[in-house]
Amino acid sequence: MKNPNIAVIYFPGNNCEEESLRAVLASGMDGRIVRWNERKGIEKYDGFVIPGGWAYEDRIRAGVIAAKDPVFKVIKAEAENGKPVLGICNGAQALVECGMIPGLKDKVEMALAPNINPFISGYYCTWVCVKSNEDRDRCAFTKFTEKDEVIPIPIAHGEGRFVTKDAELIQKLAKNRQIIFQYSAKDGKIEESFPTNPNGAIYNIAAICSKKGNVMAIMPHPERASFIRQLPDIELKNNSIGDARAMESPAPAMNVFVSMKKYIVN
């Protein structure tokens, strides 16, 4: 069977498109970087990755200009047809700003607001842990991730704090099982305080999926944690030191992309 073909949508100012494409290819899918203004014919792709960076220099607000770009009309329509869409960091911000996440109403229901961090104002880059909050089959991107599995993954953002003024929304998301990853300690314990919650996100939210489960906005970067060699000095990596092949083998976050493939193939 032909491999799924993924469009990694590049907006001016993105800087994670190459790493995202590398993770897509390593997971066994085909793909290419598609510029925002090459939207004619993008319906032929089987899925979409909106990578991280600073689309349009984050002018006005992170992700909002990309969210208003005509290419998103096509991506939204394809998502409604069931195709998977993964927004990473700046891509997640765009998915929230265009209303695809959480997607319960046809409007913007949340924000990715400036981080709240007791020590650093603005951009913050570090390794964190996220815990899978739902069963494997809930979402197109967690088919190989067990519920409660803890994954090492980096964050790199200034505006990553999931927040909403709708007092009932978080309950609805929990009820709909749309909160896919939460920031956690290494042992999986959910602590609301820094540094476990690195940006003050409500309910420690690191990733949310759409109601159908085929669209996910994730603030941490799975494409930067997809190979053992990319991990920080934790046991998983230290066990592979001196073994080049082992260093190139997939790390837990690669499952986001492998799962995307499985979702499309099935």
Binding site: I60, R61, V108, A113, K165
Partner: protein, 153 residues
């Protein structure tokens, strides 16, 4: 008696964010908006001589870099609608601490920071207000963490 001072700081060079905002607003159908300008807005509550404070605050280079910024102490009347956008959780305490503790502005009691959008809209006052509100809700403001106020001319 504390006094309130407003300071508006804008770029001398073309502001690419304002240009992008104009293009995006027109693309989403708000084509009666003919021009958009953007500035940083500060509101200080001070307990000292107003003129002395003004002469000093414009030299605090964390707010004004003379090489690239111009500033005024009143909202310019260069457009028919203005929108002030504030982050709800930003109480200005970060700037206040820097100004007081690092730059020696001991008599500042409070600082508010916002973005001031100025728009020229080809419409009468009532319609311009409605267009500005739509521009705010659809592009300039995410009401889940920001709030806005439309200022008349």
């Amino acid at each position: 008696m504390p006094k309130t001072i407003e300071m508006i700081v804008s770029l001398k060079v073309p502001d690419t964010t304002a240009i992008t905002a104009l293009q995006t607003l027109q693309r989403i159908g708000l084509d009666k908006i003919k021009d958009v300008k953007r500035a940083d807005y500060y509101k200080f509550l001070i307990e000292e001589d107003e003129e002395k404070f003004k002469s000093q605050i414009c030299k605090a280079d964390i707010l004004v870099n003379a090489n690239k910024h111009s500033y005024t102490f009143s909202i310019p009347k260069d457009s028919n609608v203005k929108i002030l956008v504030k982050n709800i959780n930003d109480d200005g305490s970060g700037i206040l601490a820097t100004l007081k503790n690092r730059l020696g502005f001991k008599n500042i009691k409070n600082v508010e920071k916002a973005i001031l959008w100025s728009m020229s809209i080809d419409a009468d006052e009532k319609e311009a207000g409605k267009i500005a509100e739509k521009a705010a809700r659809e592009l300039l403001v995410n009401e889940h963490y920001q709030e806005f106020e439309i200022l008349g001319d």
